[in-house]
Symmetry: C2
Subunit: 373 residues, 2 copies
C-alpha cells in the first residue's frame, strides 16, 4: 500500500474468493472488512485461480510485465526468483517469509519470541503482555517498500534486478538489537526489568489527575526536569532528596534510578489538580506530556478532523470516512487517500491493458473459472 | 542509520559534547551508551558548536555539499528549507517534528494519545499500558528513509529537490487508521475492548504448560483451527460447543466471539503437557505458535547465533558483539554491520574531504571551539 501511496501502480493478485485477510475484523455491520479496506487503499485488485496451470501462467505474465513482485508466499516453484527471472532478467523479486527458513510466522507469534511481552505491563506482574499494535507487520511493510525503492534505484542505474528476502522474524530481531534490548544482555549480561509505564534510563511515567484522567509525562533533559519540579512545587523537596540520596538529578540515569522517590513527590501534585488544571500548567512548560486518549477520543480531535493527513474517502461497501494518506507531506502537499478495490475489480482492465487481451478472451477465462471479475 | 546500511554516506552532525541521546541508557559498566552505538551504526560523526554563526555556516556548507538533510530540529531559520534551498535548488530537506505544528513530542507521549495503551494489557484491568518497543520511532525512521529514497529517485528523474515534513504524531495516526483502529470507531461507532493477549477478530491467545512455560498460539485459518482441535483432543467437545452455541467455527469471527469457551477447552490440554511435549506436538501441525522468550533467551538461540543477519562487530568502547544489518538479504547476501563512530571522530576528515579545508584551517576551528574532533 505504501508504494501505491507513493504513486506506483500496485496490483494485488488474490485467489478467487479472497485471501485469508479478506474478511478480517473489524467488519462493518454489513460484514465488509474495514481492515482489508484500510490496508489496500489505492491498489488494483485481480482475482485468479492460482491452483490451475492457466492461472499461474497468467500471474507469471503479469509479474513479467510489471517487473516487480512482492509476495509472502514462499517455496512455490512457479513463483520463485529462478523461474521468473529466466523470463525477465531485471526482475525485482521480494519474498516476505515468516522466518528465514521460509516457515510461516505472524506478528503475534514473532512478538512472543522477541522478549518484549515479558517486560511489558505493570512492574511486578507475571506473564506476557502482547502488543496490540502489530509493530512487526508495520515495520516489515515499510522495510518492504524501502527494499523495492532501493532495488528500483539500483535497476535504474545498472539495469540489474534483485532477489530480496525479508523475513518478518528478522525485522523483529534487527529492531530489538538496534534499540539495545539484545545488545545490553550480550554486553552487560543483564536485562532490564518490567517497568510498567516508566521509561528505561529516563524520567517518565503516567500520573492521574484528581478527576481520574491519566497523563504521560516525560522529562528527557535537565531543563524538562527543572520545569517539572517547578511546576509541581517540589524543587525544595527534590533537592533535599537529591542530597540525602547522594544523587545528581542533572543526570538522566540517576533520575531514572531514583524514580520511586520522584514519582511520589510528583504524584502528590497531580492528585490535587484537575485534568484541566494539569493541561494548562504543563502547556506552559518545556515538559513533554500527553493525555491518554481512547480511539474514540482520538477521532474527535483536531489532530484528525483538522489535519491534511486525513481526507474524506468514499469507500464502496463501507461508507465515507476520514482516511490517512502517507504521514509525510512533500512540498507542503499530502496526497489524498484513495479507496481500496473490490476483490477482482480490475481483473478485466489489467488483463486488457497489461497483457493485451481482448474482451472475448477475458470472458472465456471468467467462464472457465480461471479469473473472476 | 537505515540509509547508511543501504550504502549511503551518512554524516551525523551533533553539538560538541553530544546531543540528548549521547548518554542514553542502556550503558556499559564504563558508561558508554549501547543505545547510541546501536542506532548510529555506519554513520560518520561531526561535532560542531551550532550556536555560533561560524558553526552554522559550516553546517550549512556541509548540507549544501551533501544535497540531503534530515533533521528533527524545526523552527530554526538557518536550517530551514527556504534558507538552504537558495544555495542549492535541488536540496532534499526532511524535517521530522514531533507534531505537525512543529512542537516537540516523543514516542511515549505520542503513544499515549493514540489509543493503544488503553486497550493493551489484561482484559478487565484499568489504566494505560505503554508499549516498551518504541514502535512510532521505529516506523518514523523507516518512513524517513523511504521519503529520502523517493525524493532521490524524483531528483534523479527530474532534477528537482523536495521539502518533506514527517511529524511523528502523524506516523502514529496514519498507522492507527490504516490498521482500522480509528476507522472502526468512525464507521461502527464502537471501539474494541481490552483483550489481554487475545487477538481481535481471530482465534489466538497465550497458554501455559504444566511446567509453567508460556506459549502464544494462533489459529488463523480453518485448517489451523482443525489442527488445534485435533492436537488438543477437543474435536468432539468443540463440535458439541459449536452446536450448542449455534456457532460456525469455520468463520474466524465466530472463533473469536466464542473464544472463552474455546480457551477453556484448549487450556485444559496445555496444562497437562510439558513445554517439551507442547513444542513437539505443535511442531507437527500447521498451527502458528511460539514460546515466549526473554531477551537473554533470544540471544542464545540459533535465530541470533546462526543467522547471517548478525555479524560480529567490534565497537570501540563497548566491545565485540553480534550486531544486525538490515533485515533483508539482497541476492542472498546480508551486508555486515559496521561500527558506530565516536562523537566527532570524522570532523577533520569530513571538513577536508567535503569542504576542501586544509589541516591548519581545521586546527584553527578546533582551537576556537567551533568544531571538535
Amino acid at each position: 500500500m505504501t508504494l501505491a501511496q507513493l504513486g506506483a501502480d500496485v496490483t494485488r493478485v488474490d485467489p478467487i474468493g479472497g485471501a485469508a485477510d479478506y474478511h478480517r475484523w473489524p467488519l462493518t455491520a454489513g460484514g465488509e472488512s474495514i481492515y482489508w479496506a484500510g490496508l489496500n487503499k489505492g491498489k488494483q485488485s485481480v482475482a485468479v485461480e492460482m491452483r490451475s496451470e492457466q492461472g499461474q501462467q497468467l500471474v507469471r505474465r503479469l509479474i513479467i510485465d510489471a517487473g516487480i513482485l512482492i509476495t509472502n508466499v514462499t517455496g512455490r516453484q512457479w513463483l520463485s526468483h529462478s523461474a521468473l527471472s529466466s523470463h525477465r532478467a531485471d526482475l525485482i523479486h521480494l519474498e516476505v517469509p515468516g522466518r528465514p527458513d521460509g516457515s510461516t510466522a505472524v506478528d503475534y507469534t514473532v512478538n512472543a519470541a522477541t522478549g518484549f511481552p515479558l517486560v511489558t505491563g505493570p512492574a511486578g506482574s507475571d506473564g506476557p503482555v502482547n502488543h496490540v499494535m502489530p509493530a512487526w507487520d508495520v515495520s516489515c511493510g515499510l522495510y518492504a517498500a524501502l527494499s523495492i525503492l532501493t532495488a528500483l534505484r539500483h535497476r535504474d542505474a545498472t539495469g540489474a534486478g534483485s532477489a530480496i528476502r525479508l523475513p518478518l522474524d528478522d525485522v523483529a530481531l534487527a529492531t530489538a538489537a538496534n534499540l539495545g534490548f539484545l545488545t545490553e544482555v550480550m554486553i552487560n549480561g543483564t536485562r532490564r526489568p518490567r517497568l510498567g509505564n516508566a521509561i528505561y534510563g529516563q524520567y517518565g511515567r503516567d500520573f492521574v489527575s484528581s478527576d481520574g484522567v491519566e497523563f504521560m509525562v516525560v522529562a528527557l533533559t535537565a531543563r524538562h526536569f527543572r520545569d517539572l519540579t517547578d511546576l509541581t512545587g517540589t524543587a525544595t523537596a527534590v533537592a533535599a532528596a537529591e542530597e540525602k540520596l547522594g544523587a545528581d538529578f542533572t543526570d538522566e540515569g540517576q533520575r531514572y534510578q531514583h524514580r520511586d522517590v520522584l514519582d511520589s513527590l510528583f504524584a502528590a501534585w497531580f492528585r490535587t489538580q484537575t485534568a484541566e488544571q494539569i493541561t494548562a500548567a504543563l502547556s506552559a512548560t518545556s515538559v513533554l506530556w500527553e493525555r491518554y486518549r481512547t480511539f474514540d477520543e482520538v477521532i474527535g480531535t483536531a489532530r484528525v478532523t483538522d489535519n491534511p493527513l486525513f481526507t474524506a474517502l468514499d469507500q464502496p461497501g463501507i461508507g465515507s470516512y476520514l482516511a490517512p494518506g502517507l504521514p509525510m507531506s512533500v512540498d507542503g502537499v499530502h496526497r489524498p487517500a484513495r479507496s481500496a478495490p473490490a476483490l477482482g475489480e480490475h481483473t478485466a482492465e489489467v488483463l486488457a491493458a497489461r497483457l493485451g487481451m481482448g474482451a472475448d478472451e477475458i470472458d472465456t477465462l471468467v467462464e472457465s473459472g480461471v479469473v473472476a471479475t
